[in-house]
């Protein structure tokens, strides 16, 4: 029995249920080939270290499985390559230390020390009002530079952008320099509200109506 681990990144700009079905489809594909799935790790939406296909974030998923022959791998990789929803994937064969490491990690043996540390860290972060950073560039009209500007000013998540008033965002932009004054943030909070609620389909519809973040009806 050989143990493999496959990690892939799903396009985040999909409706929430389609992201799930995309992940589930590969679990099924592996199971149908007569392999036993050891563990499925939904790593969730994460920031990418560099943009892939003009996306700045992705939904990570990791499936660990055992197989006798390894003939699944080529089928699986072919399917992943043909799938437009998958941005990246990586298959790794685990040696005995890797298998043990993942077992221990699941049972909390490895994380035990760092877990208590990280949990205390999280507490501290929450105390300081730390908010999880979202990919603000998904909002129509916000580019990487403006997203940076907003996060420096404390608007790191969709929730906080949704809560901020238009005047607040305008003042942040004007502080950032003359380059940003031309941007109209009037629809950003509305878009951020949809993003915070995970309503990606509605957000995409809204984006289609918008040109450079300004609602076309007003023009």
């Amino acid at each position: 029995m050989k143990q493999y681990e496959i990690t892939f990144i799903i396009d985040p700009v999909l409706p929430g249920d389609e992201i799930k079905t995309a992940g589930k489809a590969y679990e099924k594909l592996i199971a149908n080939e007569g392999c036993t799935i050891v563990h499925v790790d939904e790593m969730g939406l994460q920031q990418l270290a560099y943009p892939i296909n003009k996306r700045n974030s992705g939904v990570y998923k990791c499936i660990e499985f055992q197989t006798e022959t390894g003939s699944v791998i080529s089928k699986l990789e072919l399917a992943l390559r043909r799938d437009e929803r998958i941005m990246r994937f990586l298959t790794v064969k685990l040696d005995k230390y890797g298998v043990k490491y993942n077992d221990d990690k699941r049972n909390g043996k490895i994380g035990s020390k760092s877990k208590s540390k990280s949990s205390s860290k999280e507490d501290k972060k929450e105390e300081k009002g730390y908010v999880k950073k979202d990919d603000l560039t998904l909002i129509e009209g916000v580019g990487p530079k403006i997203a940076n500007l907003l996060s420096v000013a404390g608007l790191k998540s969709y929730d906080s952008v949704a809560g901020a008033s238009i005047e607040d965002i305008r003042s942040i932009l004007s502080k950032g320099g003359s380059n940003y004054i031309g941007h109209d943030p009037s629809t950003w909070s509305q878009q951020a509200k949809l993003a915070a609620g995970g309503k990606w389909a509605e957000l995409n519809k809204l984006k289609d109506k918008l040109i450079r973040g300004i609602s076309s009806e007003e023009e």
């Binding site: 990690t7 270290a49 560099y50 992705g58 990246r88 990586l90 490491y101």
Partner: protein, 88 residues
């Protein structure tokens, strides 16, 4: 006699210092390096995201190779950058 400003120490200043570099994987018995843990791998790259040499990290050859593989895998999955500035 000409003055010798270039001689600062009469003996090697590192003698008697007990902070010798060591391989943390051998010392703490870490056998597997996870590529999905970018925070840990950050210790082995410089602030441009390049791998640090063994003479600085102190890793043994066996584990330096494993670190290199793990960092490259993390880069492929966009968990770590290929090139940046001000990473740390």
């Amino acid at each position: 006699m000409a003055s010798r400003d270039d001689i600062k120490f009469l003996s090697n200043p590192n003698i008697g210092n007990d902070n010798k570099k060591y391989c943390r994987f051998r010392k703490f018995g870490i056998r597997h390096i996870d590529y999905k843990d970018p925070d840990f791998l950050l210790q082995f790259v410089n602030e441009q995201g390049k791998l640090l040499p063994r003479r600085i990290t102190g890793n043994s050859l066996k584990y330096q190779k494993k670190v290199a593989i793990a960092v490259k895998r993390a880069r492929h999955l966009s968990l770590m950058p290929y090139v940046t500035d001000l990473l740390k």
